[in-house]
Symmetry: C2
Subunit: 356 residues, 2 copies
Amino acid sequence: MSDSPSKPRDATVQDVAREAGVSKATAARVLGGYSVTSPAVRDKVMTAARSLDYRPNEVARSMTTGRSRAIGVVVADVENPYFGLAVRGISDVARAEGFDVILANSGEDVERERDAIRMLLAKRVDGLIVTPASVHDTEHLRAVEASGRPIVLLDRYIPSMSVDTVVADDRAAGAAVARRLTEAGHRRIGYVSATACDDPVYRGAHQLHLSTVRDRIEGFLEAAAQAGGGGCERYVRLGVNRLGGGPKIVADLMALPDRPTALIASDNVVALELFKALRALGIAIPRDLSLIAFHDADWTSVTTPSITVVAQPCYELGSESAAALVRRARGDTTAGRRIILQTRLIERESVISPPR
Amino acid sequence: MSDSPSKPRDATVQDVAREAGVSKATAARVLGGYSVTSPAVRDKVMTAARSLDYRPNEVARSMTTGRSRAIGVVVADVENPYFGLAVRGISDVARAEGFDVILANSGEDVERERDAIRMLLAKRVDGLIVTPASVHDTEHLRAVEASGRPIVLLDRYIPSMSVDTVVADDRAAGAAVARRLTEAGHRRIGYVSATACDDPVYRGAHQLHLSTVRDRIEGFLEAAAQAGGGGCERYVRLGVNRLGGGPKIVADLMALPDRPTALIASDNVVALELFKALRALGIAIPRDLSLIAFHDADWTSVTTPSITVVAQPCYELGSESAAALVRRARGDTTAGRRIILQTRLIERESVISPPR
DNA sequence: TTGACAGATGAGACCGGTCTCATTATCCCT
DNA sequence: AGGGATAATGAGACCGGTCTCATCTGTCAA
């Protein structure tokens, strides 16, 4: 129908070639910047290209080459600044290396993760960076590995996969937090995570489908036990979802006969939930209860009291994984490596000795 | 070199056709789900496809069709949860409508915005959603509009462009904030924005290259003046960057002979900066100074005092823009519309009457 | 002068889908 | 039984690049 106004079909190599009076092959050589051409021809072609406002069609280009100069990133939660920072790390490195970044969001859902990977592969990205939503549900990840397309795991490792993986030292971080608290005198320490789980009561590491959470809890429990804080398993709570659940879990913990004297929040969203719930119950931090949170979210320094946190190398997590992926995309076929970055405990005001 | 192990080149329509014993055209019909085929053939082809683990090559597909069933999103700052939420709104709608989302980050930088748009167009996305980094530097956006590819502006409008635009009612929001403060008795009200600017002193709306900031400030100044708070222009400060600058700007404002009795923060990052800087100076909120911030970031409810904020319809900003874009991609050619969503003031504890 | 050789260009196949058009098989009706 | 409409399939062009291979020209050494 009304197609007359906006039909100035994009200029193609062929069009440019005609305008410049050379063959399609020659024009392509100039425009694609490959092979050799004479300065005179180069000039003619570039002039023609400009006058026709030629823009290369990446789709056609990547169909023939099989490569797209793009890397796909599947992130667990775009809304979380934690991953936002990692994405910036990825973008910066990718850009510097000449790769575009295509970002997709899984929302911690394996189904959507699968979809996102399918789409990215269909778009023929040169490689994938994924924060796997589950250590258990991984055939789709293995399929990528098997297909020979590079894949890098970000933030969470999968024990049975040997692809490049960039993670924080979560076990050490969990242990460091436990030590900080036991040294302050705490023996009954709780751990609260957002990770969804059928059963909010901790029954063992096998329930956990994220390596980060699993490692942190194991590191914490082990270090706590060593320091005389055995049996903290009973203070581990899972599945604090964003839409509440915090108040109930906090109330439960606080109603225990031997209630914990310190709490560890697995990420900044959980920390916020705990903070609110504790305040609502009239439990003062740190007087009645000490608190340490994972992730140095900017706001944790501004609450009253400010919150002692584990700072994680988010940006580096991203930049290292991008660097690894680029190496692979360029042909590196050495064995997969696991890059483990260190965390850092930032002391603030939310930890003191337990009340007697 | 070591190419022997991972060379099982992906199966193509041709391969499936051969395996199923039909022509390439027929196999394509079945696999592409178009035209008509007999149930028997359909069966044979699907079986063959499964056995060969066929996956369609979207690149080839979109080369012939010219469409990619993907929409490109250029967001100003992935790290900002404000946009994170909007992205979720976009994703949800896009997904429901059968579109993939390709996300790119401009970091509020026009140059990167241009790059991102070039890349997305080269990938032949079916449409673009952009949060323009500047109202002034817009030829690349106009070029998209002129090319006939749908483009929707998100969060910020460009007065001279008539494409679909989804924004919050920033002018009304600015006015509402001003009224809230003047009704509490404030007459000297400051406004602090992160928007970069050559000159941190406000000289007029023309310096501002973001419609959001401009509208908010204009709405604020107008409403303040009406209520007897004229001359607040001198309390407007721009360019609080993330890496400090907050302390200096706050110190400057507080050193003025007639220092402001209330401050408005243009977004939650600025609010955080102000909060820290004020605390460092020993200025108590709300006793010495009232504070209202834009964006209901989750942490604003947990500070002491909690912060009165303007809640913005982030998710809806995203979902509406995606809906608009999908409409366009499906062929709607009616005139561009501007969709204006309302904000809401959430009362908390950071506003009281000014000290005498 | 001639032949080897490098540099520059052209012709055309190819990537993996979609889609048009022609052909064949099937069915229904008079 | 014959003819026209319809359904199902095949053959092959096409999208816009890349890339191989052949051709042509000019230079230089023998």
